[in-house]
Amino acid sequence: MQMSTRTGQEMDQQLIEQCKRGNAFAQKRLFDQYANRLFRVSLRYVRNESDAEEVLMNGFMKVFRSISNFAYRDDNGLEAWLRRIIVNEALQYLRANRSLPLFQSEETAGIQPDSNPLPDMGLDAERIYALIRELPTGYRTVFNLYAIEGYTHREIAEQLSISENTSKSQLSKARALLQQWLTNYGYEATRRTS
């Protein structure tokens, strides 16, 4: 098991080296390995699918342009680096399309998901993913950055050009709305996690 992990790491390292040399085959392999996962990341920030594809493309262009500066340590490091680039690209896209900041005008009262996401499925990962995508842009962005990517409020404030207090309030509102939707689906988050 340990042997196979090491071989996989060596292969990934070689893949990165080949990408640094501009090998198109290696670039395609790296893209295939992470495209779906990173498309989901992009779609969590940018609701529209074609916009998310654009974010993904631009993100991978940046990846291949700056891969010579990347020092491979392990797979987690590689994926974290790729995610960071995609997230930055998504934030840039939101800023360029004036989707941010939308925090002041949004009201939590009465917000419901646009459609009942995946009604035939149970409350599994896909449904939670769909509910996050249904959050308003401001809530969704702060919740994604804080709860999933692990940014601090200060970092979020810098990224979105807002105050830390705004970030905190947006996060608490996002949590409350998500909790409400989940409760409507019959889920108690506190009981499940404890």
């Binding site: 040399r21 501009g22 090998n23 198109a24 670039q27 395609k28 893209f31 295939d32 495209a35 779906n36 996962r37 498309f39 989901r40 779609l43 699918e49 998310a52 594809e53 993904l56 493309m57 991978f60 262009m61 291949f64 342009r65 995946l118 599994d124 990962a125 896909e126 939670i128 993913y129 769909a130 996050i132 804080y146 709860a147 999933i148 692990g150 601090t152 949590r175 998500l178 909790q179 989940l182 988050a189 506190t190 499940r192 996690t193 404890s194």
Partner: protein, 229 residues
């Protein structure tokens, strides 16, 4: 400093980690299609193409330069060869018309900027042209015959002195390297040929013949010492 996670955050993070490595259900995302759109503008492919184009351009330029150099280098030699390989003008001076082309070729030989050393025929055998034509035809006919026919012909036909004589008189070209000045000196020794198309008539104004007047209008100078008359 980041605050401790809410249970909801933890649970959401854990749920998202369990997501399959596929596009979301109902999504039309196609990774191959996105790759096809992205691939042409990727870094790495473009510099290779640029380098290839540069190499092709450089090769094309080098080829053009080489061809033009060869053309310029070989052209004068071919001209000289065509001039020197001509039958000598002295042998048939009256039959050969002296036109602008011939004059230009003579000038080319006399040009001091041309190469100082030139090839030139040395031995000139004066053979009448009719003889040359007959000899050539005869030689071609003999060489075209099959060997069997030649053998039979050699046995049956008595040898005539004309055929070997004709074959022997075919001039064999030999070349000698001479200085350009020698050529010039020889040319100066030769009787000079002048164009007869334009001339100056001196004397009284007389009646012109109609055909002369049509060809070129003569310049008529009166015989007088006073220039204003």
């Amino acid at each position: 400093m980041k605050q401790p996670d809410e249970p909801l955050d933890q649970w959401v993070r854990q749920a998202l980690n369990d997501l399959p490595d596929t596009p979301p259900p109902g999504s039309a995302f196609n990774a191959d299609q996105v790759w096809r759109q992205m691939h042409p503008s990727l870094p790495g492919a473009a510099p290779q193409r640029r380098v290839g184009t540069v190499w092709w351009l450089a090769a094309a330029c080098a080829a053009v330069l080489l061809i033009s150099w060869l053309y310029l280098e070989l052209e004068p030699a071919e001209k000289v060869a065509s001039v020197t390989n001509r039958p000598p003008a002295a042998s048939t001076p009256t039959n050969r018309p002296v036109g602008p082309l011939a004059l230009r070729q003579q000038t080319a030989v006399r040009d001091p900027s041309a190469k100082a050393v030139r090839e030139r025929t040395v031995r000139r055998v004066n053979v009448p042209e009719s003889n040359l034509v007959e000899q050539t035809e005869l030689t071609e006919a003999i060489t075209a015959m099959p060997a069997e026919t030649l053998r039979i012909a050699a046995k049956t036909i008595p040898s005539t002195p004309e055929v070997p004589k004709a074959l022997a008189t075919v001039p064999k070209r030999q070349f000698r390297v001479v200085h350009a000045n020698e050529l010039q000196a020889e040319d100066e020794k030769r009787p000079k040929l002048y164009q007869t198309e334009n001339f100056v008539r001196l004397g009284d104004e007389g009646e012109l013949r109609p055909d002369e007047g049509e060809i070129a209008k003569p310049l008529i100078l009166r015989l007088t010492n006073k220039p204003n008359q």
